[in-house]
Every structure is written in C-alpha cells, then in structure tokens.
C-alpha cells in the first residue's frame, strides 16, 4: 500500500468494528475509494464482479451520512446519495445488500428504491420526505429532473453512484443519463460522481462520463481493484466433425452436457434467444440425470426470470442457458464454469461473461468455448489468445444522439424555464455531447418547439415558447404530460404477450409465458409451431394484446428461429482471425480438420495476407459466384452486398442475390464475374449515391427512423398491450419518413436516424474502413469450382437469400405463384 494511503484505522470505530466482527479487512480499493471521496473527488472503480465493488461504492456515503446523522435535524433531510443502475432488478437487490451493513451497524440511514414499479403514493411521499439514499434507474432520474421540484429535491445531493457504467457507454440510455448528470452537477455544485465498472479496454470514456467536461474540473480518479486471477479458457476440441456452417454447435451438445455434469454451477451463454431455446431443449432431452437446468432470456416473462435468478442465488440450479440478459447484475451464486456456445464476437464481451464465474477474486474463472462451425473455431482460438494476453477490444463511443438531446431539452423546459445559452453550456459539459456544435443545438431547440421544418407553418402551435426575458418554457401541462409518457431511450419493438390457453373446451386464458415481437406473430399462421420458454407451442391466433398458444409437446417446431440479439464480430478479433489464417505456424494449434481445410485452400486457391481481400470467382450449378472474405461482420457485409449487387446490375452482369456471413460475402448471378475490374467494383465511391438510393426503400432504415422519432417525441410510443383504436387517426412512421425524406432529407431527425443506421444495422464505419484497408490490395483467384474457404457461405445460401429488391420481388412472386396456381386449376 502506498504511503499516505488510508488504512483500516482511518475508518470510524463503528465501521472498523463491523469489518472486524465479520473477520474482514477493508480491501485496498475500498479504502482508495474512501480516500478519493474524502478529497471530494469523483472516481471510477474498475473491479471484477464480486470484488466488493458495491460496498466500495457505498462506504464513503454511509460514513458521511452516519457522521452527519447526529448533527442534522429531520426537516433537513434531503437525498445525499443517488444510486443509478441500468437494471431495475439490480437497484432492488443492491438496496437489500446495502441495508445489511446499515442494519448491523444500526446506522441512522434510510434507503429507498424508486423504479417504474414503485407505487404512486410512495413516489409522492419521496418527494417531500426523501430518503438519504435513493436507488433508481436512468429513466427515473430523467423524470425527477423534469419535475418543477428538481432543484429543491436534488439541492443537497453529495454523491451519485452509477453501477455497471461500462454498459452505459456509447448507448442512448447512457447518453440520456449523461445529460441528466450535467443537470445534477449544476443543481448540486461539488457533486461527486462514482462509476462502478467491469473490466474495460479503455477507461477514458468512463472517466469523462463522471465529471463536467469543458469546465476545468479535475478528471475523475481511476481506481483498479487488485489482481484478480486470469481466467482459464479452453476451446472445445469436439470429438465429432466440426460443421461447415450454422451456429447451433449441435455436434457438441453432449460435451456441453458432460461439462455441466462435472461442474457445480454452469452459465451457458448463447448469442440469440432462439439459440437459447434450442440449446435448452437439447440439454433437457438428454438430461437423464435430471439436473436442474433453467432458461433465461429477454423475451421470457419477468416473473419467470426472477424465479430462475432466485433459484440460482439459492444454489438450486446446476446450469442456466442464457443470453446477454445475464451479462449484467449481481452475483447469481457460485458459478464455477462459464460456457460460451457459438462465436464469442469480442474479447471484452467474453471477458465480462467469464467474469460471471467464481466471484472469489483469488480463484481463476473457468471458461469453455464451443465453436459452432469452422470459422467460429478460428474466432474462438483468437478470443482465447486475446484473453490469455489480457487484450481487450474496444471502440471509441459514438457522439451523443440527437433524438436523445431533443427528449432532454423538452424535459428541461418542463422543469423550469431556461436560457438557451445556459442550457447549451450545460449540455456540452456532458461527455457524449461535448463536441456538439451550437447550430445543431439550436436546430434541436427548434425541433422541440415546432418540429424544426423549413416550411414555417407550425409557429402558432409551438410546444415551447419564449418568455419576455428570453427564457424558454413549456407551453402547457399537456406538453409536459407528453414528455412524461415518452421518457426513455429504449423503444421496445411492438410485441404480443405469449399466452397459454387450454386445448380442450372453451379457451380460458392462462398464464403469460413471455413476449414475442409483432413481426414474428404476424408471420405465423394458426397451427404453426415454434419453440418458446422451453416448450413447443402451437400458435392459435391473436386476442387483443395476446398471442394465444397451446402446448404441442409431440410436434417438431416448424418455425425454427426468430431473431434477437446479434452483435457483429469486433474489429479487433477479426484482425486476429485474419492474421491467424495467414500465419501457417498458428495452424498447428488448430484441430486437424481445420488445418486440413486451410491446407486445401492454400493448394487450390489462395491464402490471403492479413491486409489483403481475397476475391474468388467460380461457376457452380448453372450460376456464377463471386465470394470475398473481409471478416468484418455480417452487418457490414450485408451493406457491402447490397451495394455491390447494384453495381453489378449496372454493369449488366445480372446478379441474382447475395448472402453475407460474419466472415464472408457471396454474390451470384447469371453471368461470369471473373472479368470484372475488382478495384473499380470495390471502390470507396460506392458509399455515395448507391447507398443513398438504396436507403430510400430500406425497411430497416424506416424502422431506425421510427425509433428516433419516438425517442425525440415526434410520434407517440406504442405501449405493449395498448392497441391503437380508430383506424384513420393512426398513421405509420413509414409514411412520415417518405414525406420528410422527399422534402427535407437533411432534417435533424433524418440526421439522427442516419447516425444510428451508420453505427448500427449498416455498420458504415466498418465498411468504409474495410474499403480503405483493401484499396490496391485485392487478391483475386478465378477458379473453376467452389474453394474450400467458400464452402461455409455456400451452405448458407439456401437458408437466407437477401436481395435489395427482395420485398418487391416477394410481392410479385407471391402474386405470380397464385396466378399460376389459378391457371392450372382452370
């Protein structure tokens, strides 16, 4: 311990006594946090789960409130510490955890939670009789700040603790919170912000998050918890054949089951909800030992999820098959093994998932990676190597989103009238918005007031109006009500409850099993079967907000999959995989089939250098193929495929379709593409007009726009279970998008949607980096038949066919098929 640092003896006697009574000593990082807090300094604590992080965060507050406790009178009571968690359930659990030392030391401290579930009466009471420590969520903070009482309510605030801060960086929820923090810093000068985080590649964005930017305030102190043992990671070398394609890892299910059997408690992470269902079903069918295995993913009913979590904490389970829903949260008991099925996608994510195991810091976590196909073997090895080296991948967070800013501005107008100059200064003191140009801020202000259109016809309907002294205030209580109904950065996809009904007699409504996206239910016909909540269910029909289902245990699910949660492979991991493929020495560490596969590729085609792009052409079954291997993730490949197809179309090469995978892209058509000038085909200028004209009709772009429009408060949120009534009052966001795009393609909301698309489903940054990287480095290989490296993507072709014009084509085909059928009958 460095000189001058605090030691146990610096704790107040009651606290020192409490530690001693439990046979504990405060950990070094807990004391470091205390020291920073005493100096009034914001700080970031990076520690693995289970490192006493929660206590480290709360200890300074507990001491401060306890010391002041004797001196203060009851009427002075104001919120001293605000704890913010990205998960509602976590806030509730943490409250319970912190209550323990408070009770055991008999401290005069009141803790309360405030979430969407808190009854209105308690929320009201909290306003005039606040607790010392309030535990809540980012959305509730926004609501409290938009209240007329906000200045008084938060005036005495000393500390803000933000848990799982790493999960809030670079996402809209975090950006909304950052804006809220900027307001809190103004309402409570000298406010100390504490961030708690899992291991991250780059702590700088987190440090910036905690203190006002552009304001001459000291940067937050960085405190890292001691040591932690490196995890032991293995890549499963399955005894069975490694599949060419697919992600299910079906060939390894028996080995997964055996690993579960050999451990006390296993978390089995998968990448999608449908994969979770499939894996769970498979494990259950081979569960001769009757192991208590459970399922946990975001579509399952909350009650069901809570039950699983409780069972884990009790130690009543041997394994849980889960998705990213268990990436965050408190310690779920004694997990001694983490299994990742399918591609790990990124080293940081994998590190955090593995961190869920063995929450004793002096023991290594154990992890088993199960690749689903050959490329995933490469990815798993790359991820394992990265972890062994302690390397993490990370990308700079995106700038603050404009739809979030619009929501915040309206909220601030609801709180109290503001001068634009002052609000702007406040906004740019938050890290995500520190580079926001004043013009953009003014555009947002005008958007909030009138929609911000060039055609000025809405002046008289303004939502925020200027007072004589130049402040902006909200026009009327209805507008404030609109804001409160709309607060939050998450737009849930419209969804149905999945409700069980009895098969016999009158259909009595039964339990709700969870929720399912609207598009999926719309695509279901009565009688269709699918896997959900660990059972095969038959779709019976829709009743208001419910999709009615019956149990169909004896049937094979007809609709095998539905989406949910797909992250692209990180740039960092992709680079490692590219290097590995090129480096023949590293092939030695691979399973035999992999090595043979790459040797074969070397023989019949080409092994590209790490910075090269291999482009192969070959004929196959009456068609001509072009396959390239950028390794830049499915999203970027999909965009690339769309753009290349348009170009090939213009060259008269009649492309018919394309399919992207995480690693490669395959395009096919009626004509030989070996004569194409590849340098010109892959030129960066495709990011201009081709992209523009495609986006005009893109369904995903429209969906992105809708989400932005909802967050920005342009259109109202649809709440699950609340169906729109009145057929002609409803309008669709698609129609608005078409009209706005035609007249004001540079409108601020279009900019917001574009930024989301570029960073999201289009992955434009990735694509433009890819095109820049391979300029002048295209390695072509014109072949007479399919190459070994091409096999995986060729196998995907029959499963998913995507084409830019797919929708129109589908419509025409469906209609043509019907006509043909009708003609035959006649």
């Amino acid at each position: 311990m460095p000189d001058g640092a605090l030691s146990t003896s610096d704790l107040p006697p009651v606290f020192a006594g409490w530690f001693a009574a439990r046979g504990w000593r405060p950990r070094a990082h807990q004391l470091a946090c205390l020291e920073a807090a005493r100096g009034g300094r914001s700080h970031l604590l990076i520690a693995p789960t289970g490192g006493g992080k929660t206590l480290a965060g709360f200890l300074p507050s507990l001491i401060e409130i306890a010391e002041a406790g004797a001196r203060r009178s009851n009427c002075e009571r104001r919120v001293h510490t605000l704890y913010i968690s990205p998960l509602k359930a976590l806030a509730v659990d943490i409250a319970r955890n912190v209550e323990t030392p408070v009770r055991e030391m008999d401290l005069p401290i009141r803790l309360e939670t405030r979430t969407g579930d808190t009854p209105a009466s308690r929320r009201q009471r909290q306003k005039y009789n606040p607790p010392d420590i309030l535990l809540t969520t980012p959305e509730q903070v926004a609501l409290l700040l938009a209240n007329k009482d906000a200045a008084r309510f938060f005036g005495g605030l000393k500390t803000v603790i933000i848990d799982e801060l790493h999960s809030l960086i670079g996402v809209k929820r975090g950006q909304l919170l950052a804006l809220g923090l900027a307001r809190l810093h103004r309402l409570a000068p000298g406010l100390r912000c504490v961030g708690l985080s899992a291991t991250v590649p780059d702590p700088q964005p987190l440090l910036d998050f905690l203190t006002p930017q552009n304001a001459g305030v000291d940067e937050a102190a960085l405190i890292r918890a001691e040591g932690g043992v490196k995890p032991i990671v293995r890549v499963l070398n399955s005894e069975n054949r490694i599949p060419w394609a697919g992600h299910s890892a079906r060939h390894s299910w028996t080995e997964v089951y055996e690993a579960i059997k050999a451990s006390k408690m296993t978390l089995v992470f998968v990448n999608t909800r449908s994969q979770a269902e499939m894996t769970f079903q498979a494990l259950w069918s081979m569960n001769d030992d009757n192991l208590p295995i459970a399922l946990h993913h975001g579509s399952l009913d909350v009650e069901r999820r809570r039950k699983v979590e409780a069972a884990m904490t009790r130690g009543g389970l041997r394994a849980v098959v889960c998705t990213s829903t268990l990436d965050l949260g408190i310690d779920w008991g004694d997990v001694d093994l983490v299994i990742q099925i399918g591609a790990p996608k990124g080293a940081s994510r994998l590190t955090q998932r593995i961190g869920r195991a063995n929450h004793r810091m002096d023991e290594p976590s154990e992890a088993l990676l199960i690749p689903g196909n050959r490329f995933e073997v490469l990815e798993c090895i790359a991820a394992k190597d990265a972890l062994d080296e302690g390397a993490l991948d990370g990308e700079a967070p995106r700038d603050g989103a404009l739809d979030i800013l619009a929501q915040h501005v309206l909220g601030m107008a609801c709180a109290e009238p503001f001068f634009p100059d002052e609000l702007f200064a406040e906004v740019i003191s938050s890290a995500p918005y520190r580079d926001l140009p004043r013009e953009t801020f003014d555009e947002i202000l005008e958007f909030v007031a009138t929609g911000g259109y060039a055609l000025k016809t809405y002046e008289r309907f303004r939502r925020i109006v200027k007072t004589p002294e130049g402040r902006y205030r909200v026009r009327n209580p209805e507008t404030a009500q609109q804001y409160r109904m709309n607060v939050g950065a998450i737009v849930e996809a419209p969804a149905f409850n999945v409700r069980l009904v009895s098969t016999k007699g009158p259909r009595r409504p039964g339990r709700i099993l969870g929720t399912m996206e609207e598009w999926f239910i719309e695509g279901c016909a009565p009688g269709d079967t699918f896997l959900f909540a660990g059972e095969v269910l038959r779709f019976e029909g829709v009743d208001g907000p419910d999709a009615l289902v019956t149990r169909a245990p004896d049937e094979d699910p007809k609709i095998p999959s539905w989406n949910g949660g797909k992250f692209p492979l990180t740039t960092y991991l992709a680079e490692r995989v590219r290097k590995m493929i090129h480096d023949r020495k590293s092939w030695r560490a691979m399973p035999d089939p992999l090595r043979e596969w790459l040797e074969m590729q070397r023989e019949v085609s080409v092994i590209p250098k790490p910075d090269e792009l291999l482009v192969e052409t070959f004929p196959h079954t009456n068609r001509f193929f072009l396959v390239c291997y950028p390794f830049d993730g499915r999203l970027a490949h999909q965009t690339l495929g769309t753009l290349l197809t348009r170009r090939l179309e213009r060259l008269g090469l009649q492309p018919m379709g394309f399919v992207p995978t995480e690693y490669s892209l395959s395009i096919w058509g009626r004509q030989d593409m070996s004569g194409v000038d590849m340098a010109a085909l892959f030129d960066e200028d495709m990011m201009g007009d081709d992209l523009e004209s495609w986006l005009q009709e893109s369904v995903l772009m429209k969906r992105t726009f809708r989400d932005c429009a909802v967050i920005a408060g342009l259109i109202e949120r649809r709440y699950p279970g609340v169906q729109k009534t009145g057929r002609q009052v409803s309008f669709s966001a698609d129609l608005i998008y078409d009209v706005l795009r035609e007249h004001e393609p540079n409108h601020v909301l279009m900019k917001a949607a574009w930024a989301d698309a570029a960073g999201g489903f289009l992955d434009l940054k990735r694509l433009s980096n890819l095109l820049a990287r391979i300029k002048g480095k295209i390695r072509r290989s014109d072949l007479t038949r399919v190459s070994p490296l091409a096999i995986p993507v060729m196998l995907e072709i029959n499963k998913t066919v995507i084409h830019g014009e797919a929708q129109e084509a589908m419509l025409k085909e469906a209609s043509d098929a019907l006509i043909a059928e009708g003609m035959r009958r006649a």
Partner: protein
C-alpha cells in the same frame, strides 16, 4: 414519362375497363378521368395543433404525386372521392404554395369534389364542382361504400390495405379492393392510414374479393384466400 417503370393493372368493374396505378389512383380511359380517394389534405397540421409536429409536407407530397399522374394521363377530369380535407378548417391552414399547386392541377380540366365525412361542406378556397355522388358511364361514384351488394359503385372512405404473407413474414400495403361489380379505392393522401380488407367493415360488400396490392413499381392481384388478417380483437375476428 416520369414513372413509366410502374406496371399498372387493368381491372374490369361492372363492364367498365379501369386502370389501377401503383401510386394509388384509378384511371378510366373511356372517360379520360382520374379518380383519387381520401386525400386528407392537412392531416399533418391537424396533428401539429395537438402538439404532434409531423412534417408539414403531406399536402405537398400528395399534390405532387397527383401532378405526376395528371401529366402522364392528361385526364379531362379529376374526381376527388371525398375526404379531400382532413377536417373542417384544414383548407384555411393550407400553405400558399400548396394552394397554388392545387389551382394549377385544376386548371384546364373538369374537377369534381365528391363530399366525404371529413369534409362535409364544399371547399371555399378552391373552384370545382361539388356533389354528394355522381354517375359516370355505368358506375356511380360516392365517398362511403354502400353496405351489402352495390353493383357499379366506386367508393373510398375505408382506406383498404392488404396484408400478404410470403416467406414467413408479412407485408402490409395499400390496395384496390374489388370484385367484378364494385371497387373501393385506396386512400391517396400521404399520411392516410389503412384498414385491412378482411376487417368486418367490408363484410358483405364483395363477392369474390381481389386485393390489387400496390407495390413500389406495380400493382399485384391477390385473391382474398391469400390475404392475412391484422392482429385483431376477438369481436372483430368473430365478425370476419
């Protein structure tokens, strides 16, 4: 021609040959008439009055789409089949430039406003003939479709749209709903919503219903058996 890529569909109704365009208007070659339903001008500003600031360009978009069709077909007459204005007072909110566009569209041809429930009173700012309904050839044109069978009727009001299933997903698009005797036109207005043709509101209106579904570049026929309902309440399902 501006959108010659679009494939229009020829449809027979009560013995008359009509052309359904992918833009959602109906052209009647024998009468040289262009028929549009449910324009809902100023729906955007109607929402803005209540604090929902939809882009104020819906009227302009609707007019421009009409202009493209007028230039292509050079109709002798244009018929608006009711609900041209979203509400009383909408007319007065119309931007000057939009009003000029509309005037230009009306110039040199016959223009008929069939009145609808959203615009029960004749427009005061614009010219054109006004009627509750009109006869043309063997057809009668009115806003609200008649319950039960109504041979020879062209109407609007219901904003028909169809949901089509293909490859495990569905698409919902505006459509012309017709059998050989009558037709309900899709809403033409840029912000107009839609009502599924399988809804109870259409019950008893058609013999063998065909939904002529509007794609981006063509109009595609679907028999009613190939259509999908919207997720609905049980009452609606029972009635359907």
């Amino acid at each position: 021609m501006p959108d010659n890529a679009a494939i229009n569909a020829a449809i027979e109704v009560n013995g008359e040959s009509l052309v359904a365009t992918a833009a959602g208007a109906l052209y009647w070659p024998a009468q040289e008439a262009l028929i549009v339903a449910d324009l809902h001008f100023e729906k955007g500003s109607s929402f803005a009055r209540r604090g929902v600031m939809l882009p104020p360009y819906d009227t302009r978009t609707t007019l421009k789409r009409m202009k493209v069709l007028a230039e292509r077909f050079q109709p002798r007459a244009i018929v608006s089949l009711g609900d041209a204005f979203h509400e009383t007072g909408a007319e007065a909110r119309m931007d000057e430039e939009d009003a000029t566009l509309l005037d230009a569209l009306m110039a040199g041809r016959e223009w008929i406003w069939v009145l609808g429930n959203h615009d029960p009173a004749p427009p005061t700012r614009f010219a054109g003939e006004v009627c509750e309904e009109m006869k043309l050839g063997s057809l009668v044109l009115r806003h609200e479709p008649t319950q039960g069978a109504a041979p020879g009727e062209l109407a609007g009001h219901l904003h028909p749209c169809a949901r089509v299933r293909a490859d495990g997903s569905t698409q919902r698009r505006r459509c012309f709903a017709s059998d050989s005797e009558r037709m309900i036109l899709p809403a033409f207005g840029a912000y107009a919503g839609g009502l599924n043709v399988l809804d109870e509101a259409y019950a008893g209106m058609f013999g063998e219903l065909t939904a002529w579904v509007m794609g981006a570049r063509g109009v595609y026929p679907f028999a009613s058996g190939a259509l999908v309902r919207d997720p609905q309440s049980p009452a609606q399902r029972a009635a359907g």
